[in-house]
Assembly symmetry: C2
Homo-oligomer: 112 residues x 2
DNA sequence: ATTTTTGCTACGATTTCAGTAGCAAGAACA
DNA sequence: TGTTCTTGCTACTGAAATCGTAGCAAAAAT
């Protein structure tokens, strides 16, 4: 009955005994599907299944695990009758990530 | 003799048949240790072992796999007699990610 | 009342990662 | 020259994460 390790600032995480917030964040964001999930939630709220489809049909078990972590981290919230959405905080985080689109376009060209 | 799947823009990746650059990037960045490795390379070049230590002693096999992917993606380069460093492109990418530190500080407080 | 949709849980198969050991090549000594 | 140390990396095994599919209970739609 091993519970998934939720990264919490102040507590040690993978590869960092200090628990510095940015390390915790990198640990959280570095888990599979997390960036993609945040990305797909940039628009209106999505239901569990819609989000699953948007992510190309990832396992519901993994999706559920990621959503639990993101809810615990107050980045994603579940709204009754609407579905999953970013919190205000989560939306700010996504804003920080937005320039990645532009960067990735240039990057793609450089890779031919 | 299965080779590691390197994400390349234009080719389909996990959960995305389109191969849109940003999806490929999210796939790449979402792999374990990638964000952390980029982060640790924000300063001067690091040797393989120094980088390994900076990441808290991750497996050399995983580090080597990640470095191969990042080199193929022209984000990291290996400089003779210096070690591993970000390319110009990779440095730009890290710049996009820099605001995450500030965000993570606020985030940590909100979770406190 | 029946069918659909939704939000999940269960479970076995596969892939990835962790952790340790160790080796070949080069540099630094001696 | 021979020995020791460092460096970059490969090999191997066990543990953990993820995939892919099946399916179930509750709510909504028909």
């Amino acid at each position: 009955m091993t519970k998934s390790q939720k990264p919490v600032p102040g507590r040690r995480v993978r590869g960092s005994a200090t628990g510095r917030p940015v390390m915790v964040l990198l640990d959280l964001l570095g888990r599979r599907w997390v960036l993609r999930i945040l990305w797909e939630l940039r628009g209106p709220p999505l239901t569990f299944r819609a989000l699953q489809a948007a992510c190309g049909g990832l396992s519901p078990s993994v999706l559920n695990a990621r959503l639990a972590e993101l809810r615990d981290s107050l980045i994603v919230e579940q709204r009754p009758d609407e579905g999953y959405a970013l919190t205000r905080q989560g939306r700010e985080l996504l804003t920080q990530l937005a320039p990645l689109t532009a960067w990735s376009e240039k990057w793609a060209k450089s890779l031919g």
